[in-house]
Structures are given as structure tokens and as C-alpha cells.
Amino acid sequence: MKLNKILKNSLLVVLACLALTACATKKVSQPGQMQGDVYTGTDTVEYLASGVPDRVFFATNESVLTTASRETLRKQAAWLRKNSDITVVLEGHADERGTREYNLALGERRANAAKDYLMTYGISSDRISVLSYGKERPVDSGSNPLAWSKNRRAVTVKAN
């Protein structure tokens, strides 16, 4: 099983190297990590509680919640309802491919999209504050589409 996996991986690497002469520098986005340009992986995700992911991801320039994002936020809402003493900060972020000031506004719009969804599931706005970082705090410092997709996010952070 393990050997099989190693063989499979090394075969993939060999194939990739054959296909791409510059294989050392080219990091092709892993299948299953992105849908369109929305990040769907779990590399950067942390958990507020078991089974409650802390963040949702966005398409370029967008603040629309995807189906997966809404599912994550419903889990967060359920957790917040169970832990009624907890308050949170919704931190909104953008990728590096936009002007600084516009990205601050975009981060704020993304954080509010998530906040609004939590509110529709019964979480009081008193318990949620919003903080936009624009492009100032990326989680992935790469300059490639996968890194950018990880950075376009709204993260729910415990505030107390």
C-alpha cells in the first residue's frame, strides 16, 4: 500500500518532469484544491471546534458565498449557538493582485458576507465584529493562483 503510493508519486513526478522542462519551478495547482478559482483544500484551515472549520474562500474580486462556504458557516453558527458566551471577529482578506485601498474595502465586504450569513442563522450581530486586512496578511506568500485562492478568505476568530 505504502510502497504503491511512493511508486505512484514518483511516477507522477517523473511524468511531470518529462512534461514540463521547468518542473522545479513550476508548481501546478493540485487537483482537488481549487474549483474555478475558489480554494477548496484544507491546508490552511484551522478548526474552531471539532468539525467546525474557521474560514471560507472566495473567487477573485467576489464576495459571494459558495455552497461549501455556506455549509462551513452553518457549522460555525451551530457552534456559536451552543457556546453563547463566545464572541468572534470576522477577518476579511484579499489576494495581492489588487490595489491596496480597494482590497481593504473588498476584505470588509467579504467579512460582512460571512457575518450576514451567520446572522441569518440566529447569531446576534453584537457577537460578531468585522476587521478587514485587505491584502496585508496573506497566509500563503506564494505568487501563484493557488496561493492567491488561499488568501481570498474570511476567517472567524474567537475574540474572547
Partner: protein, 450 residues
């Protein structure tokens, strides 16, 4: 500093007025200059006694040479002038200042010559300098002024401004400062501080400690105040900083993030964005009576506002059409009109101090451009293309733009840097500006000795 500046202006006296109002030498700055004017900057002459005094006070071996090097460097960075190597100079500085032997300067192909003299007088620094037209064998300008010795670099900048103005017919931009954000540390955890330096990179000074994130500093018209965004206590708000006293205050009492601040051209108002419930609109606050006015009212993102120099109009970017585009409106928010219609998205519009152009950042097919267009959106001209660059700021004479550029990182996220760059309005003379740390969000001051 305020007092010093007043003193400086008062003591700047013109003792000879040029005989002729036209010059034989003319430098055209409206086009890229591929043949910079060869000119000689003779070291300012200095007597032994003065030299020793300045050495004691300023720890400079020869202040006359030091000042002439500042002039030389300033003129060289414009790309319009080609200062000749001092080794080739045949005439001694003191004699040249009295009466140049024009045939000697002609021999080394200098078309213009700058000479001068520095003296230590009553604990002050007194400078006189002359600009000569070598081919016509005529004096074009002579000026003298007195200041405190510590101002010696500014003396070099003021001489440069006067020479530039005499030869190009436009005001210079050398006696100016740049405020910017100094950056350090990994990309995911950047530490940012406000920093200020002379236009040529000298006298760099940090104005904040880096405890909180700071962004987008901009000077007021007199260059004594700065407005910027600070994340103090994790509440991103627009602040005001008095550079002289270090006093800081938050601008207004907004229940949410305020950002993208700039001063109005009369310095009385701050214009900025206020974000609430996922919507950003543009507001102004009067700094005297604290009255806040809402200027735009639209469910899209409206930000990066900038006034026209007469204060009658505001340009800004908005995504009301779906993507970021540039709009112009009256200063009361009426008559909003989109002006950018090219391919791509447009942001960070900044009105030129001359009033005729708007500089912007453009993103098209994965590349970032700094460009200019007329205020009705016509005549778009892209000056420079790169992986990432944005946030142009105009030199006070409207001939040069300063902006910042970020590098692409590799697959491991390494190789990131942010640097300040400048480029002429002509699209020529692109230059990296040296800063002690990485830098971004530059803003150019007005002429300090105006």
C-alpha cells in the same frame, strides 16, 4: 522646523537679476530626453577658515564639494542633464566663480556651468552660486542665500531647483520630501512603519515604531501634516500626524473602518472612504469644525478619492460597473461620470498638480501598469508595465511619478520585495529609489522652500 523654514525664506535674497529673460540653452522636458544636456558643476569654492568651521560643525571635510555633489546628483537623476566628470575641469572653483574661462569649459563640451562659493558668516552658512551659458559666454542667473549650517543639504536642493527652473522653464522638485511605508519581515507578517526622507533618499527617519500596521500616508499641502491609516488597537482608522510635534489623532468618530485618506487642496478637509456593512462610500471631514459629509451613496465600493488641484472635482475608483473603474464627480458628489473605458481594471486615480492629467494603476491580463489619462478619460498613456505596481504620487511640478513595485515570489514564497520607483511623465527615466528597508505607498511633498 517651522521657524527655521520662515527664516530660510526670509534670508533667501536675490542680489542679481538675470539680464535677459530668455536663455540660449533650452531643455525640453516634454519628451523623453535622449541627449541630456552636458553641464559642469564646479565645486563651490571655500576659504580655509570657512572650511575648518564647517568641518567642526558638520563633520564634512569640504562642504563646498559636498553641496556641489548634491546638485550634480539631483540634476543627473532627472535624466535631462549630464553632469561632466570633475577630473576634466581645468579652472579652479574660486576663479571660475569670478569669471569662467569659457573656452576651457567649451573644450570639455560643457554647455552650462554652475559655480559658487560657501562662507561661514556669523555662525551661518552663506552660499552664492551662478549659472553660466558657456556657448553664449554669459551669466544666466546668480543667487545668494544664508541659512543654518545644518541645512546644507537643502542648500544643494534649492540650487538644483533654481537651475532646473532656469533651464527648463518649470519649477523644480528637489527641495522636497517623500513620506512612505517602510516594510520589513516575511510577507505573511509584514512590519510596517511610517518613514520620511529627502527626495534623494537622505535623512531617512522612522515616524512610527512598527507596533501596529500603518498604510497610505499622504502629505497636506504645506507638507507639515500627514494623514494615514493605522490599525492601532486593531481598529483601522484614518489618523492625522503632525510631523513636527509627533502629535497623532484619529480623524472623526466613525463606527467602522475609515481608509484611503487624502487632504483637500486647501488642506482644510480630509477625504476618505468609510466602510460599513460591506459597503464603502466616500466622505469628507472638515478639520476645523469636524463636520462630516457623505459624498457618494452607492452600494458598490467607492474608494481612493483624490481632489483636482482647484478643489472643484474629485476622481475616485468604484466597482459599480462590475469592476474597478475611474470616475470623476463634482466635489459635492453630483454629476458622477465614468472616465476609464479601456480594457482591464483601473484604480488609484490621482489628479496631477497641474490639473490636466490623472495618474492611475491599471490591471490588464495579469500585468500592472502605471499610466496617465486626461481628466475626461481621453489620451490614455501607459508609462510602465510590471508584475505588480501601484499607487502613483506626483512630484509637485507634475513631471515625475513615484510609486511602488512588488516582486513575484517563487513557488516557496521566497524572493518578495517592495521598492519605491519613479518615472518621468514621458515614460523615460525609470529609477529605483534607495531606501534602508523595503518601501511602499510613497507620497511626494510640495516644494518646501516655495
Amino acid at each position: 522646523m517651522g521657524n527655521m523654514k520662515k527664516f530660510f525664506i526670509l534670508s533667501l535674497l536675490i542680489f542679481i537679476i538675470p539680464l535677459k529673460s530668455f536663455s540660449l540653452i533650452e531643455v525640453d522636458i516634454t519628451r523623453g530626453n535622449l541627449n541630456p544636456l552636458p553641464l559642469a558643476v564646479s565645486p563651490l569654492s571655500i576659504d580655509d577658515n570657512s572650511r575648518k568651521n564647517f568641518k567642526r560643525i558638520l563633520d564634512k571635510e569640504n562642504i563646498g564639494i559636498a553641496i556641489s555633489l548634491i546638485v550634480e546628483n539631483n540634476l543627473k537623476t532627472t535624466g535631462l542633464f549630464n553632469p561632466l566628470n570633475k577630473d576634466a575641469f581645468l579652472q579652479a572653483p574660486d576663479i571660475a566663480n569670478l569669471k569662467p574661462r569659457f573656452e576651457d569649459w567649451n573644450l570639455i563640451k560643457a554647455q552650462a556651468l554652475i559655480t559658487g562659493k560657501v562662507d561661514y558668516v556669523d555662525e551661518k552658512l552663506r552660499v552664492e552660486f551662478r549659472l553660466w551659458d558657456v556657448l553664449a559666454a554669459k551669466e544666466m542667473m546668480a543667487l545668494a542665500f544664508t541659512t543654518v549650517p545644518n541645512n546644507w543639504r537643502r542648500v544643494g536642493h534649492i540650487i538644483s531647483d533654481k537651475v532646473y527652473e532656469r533651464l527648463t522653464g518649470e519649477k523644480g522638485y528637489f527641495d522636497t520630501r517623500i513620506i512612505y511605508v517602510a516594510e520589513e519581515g516575511p510577507k505573511t507578517k509584514r512590519i510596517k512603519k511610517l518613514a520620511i526622507m529627502d527626495q534623494d533618499g537622505a535623512n531617512n527617519k522612522f515616524l512610527t515604531l512598527g507596533n501596529e500596521l500603518v498604510l497610505t500616508p499622504r502629505f497636506n499641502p504645506t507638507s507639515q501634516m500627514v494623514t494615514y491609516l493605522s490599525y492601532f488597537r486593531n481598529l483601522p482608522r484614518v489618523y492625522l500626524l503632525d510631523i513636527e510635534t509627533g502629535m497623532q489623532e484619529v480623524v472623526g468618530d466613525f463606527p467602522g473602518m475609515t481608509f484611503a485618506p487624502r487632504f483637500s487642496p486647501d488642506g482644510k478637509k480630509i477625504i476618505m472612504s468609510f466602510a460599513k456593512d460591506g459597503n464603502s462610500d466616500i466622505y469628507t471631514m472638515d478639520l476645523e469644525n469636524r463636520i462630516v459629509e457623505k459624498i457618494t451613496n452607492h452600494p458598490s465600493i467607492d474608494t481612493s478619492p483624490s481632489y483636482s488641484p482647484d478643489g472643484k472635482f474629485i476622481c475616485f475608483n468604484s466597482d459599480r460597473s462590475g469592476y474597478q473603474q475611474i470616475y470623476v464627480m463634482n466635489s459635492d458628489g453630483s454629476k458622477v461620470k465614468r472616465i476609464s473605458f479601456g480594457n482591464g481594471i483601473y484604480g488609484t486615480p490621482v489628479w496631477s498638480p497641474r490639473g490636466d492629467l490623472i495618474a492611475f494603476t491599471k490591471l490588464h491580463k495579469g500585468k500592472f501598469y502605471i499610466g496617465v489619462m486626461r481628466t475626461d478619460g481621453s489620451g490614455e498613456r501607459l508609462l510602465t508595465e510590471n508584475f505588480y505596481q501601484e499607487a502613483p504620487s506626483w512630484s509637485p511640478n507634475g513631471r515625475v511619478l513615484i510609486f511602488y513595485r512588488e516582486t513575484k515570489t517563487d513557488a516557496d514564497g521566497k524572493g518578495f520585495s517592495a521598492k519605491l520607483w519613479s518615472i518621468d511623465l514621458t515614460g523615460y527615466n525609470e529609477r529605483k529609489i534607495k531606501t534602508p528597508t523595503d518601501g511602499s505607498d510613497p507620497s511626494w511633498s510640495s516644494l518646501l522652500s516655495n
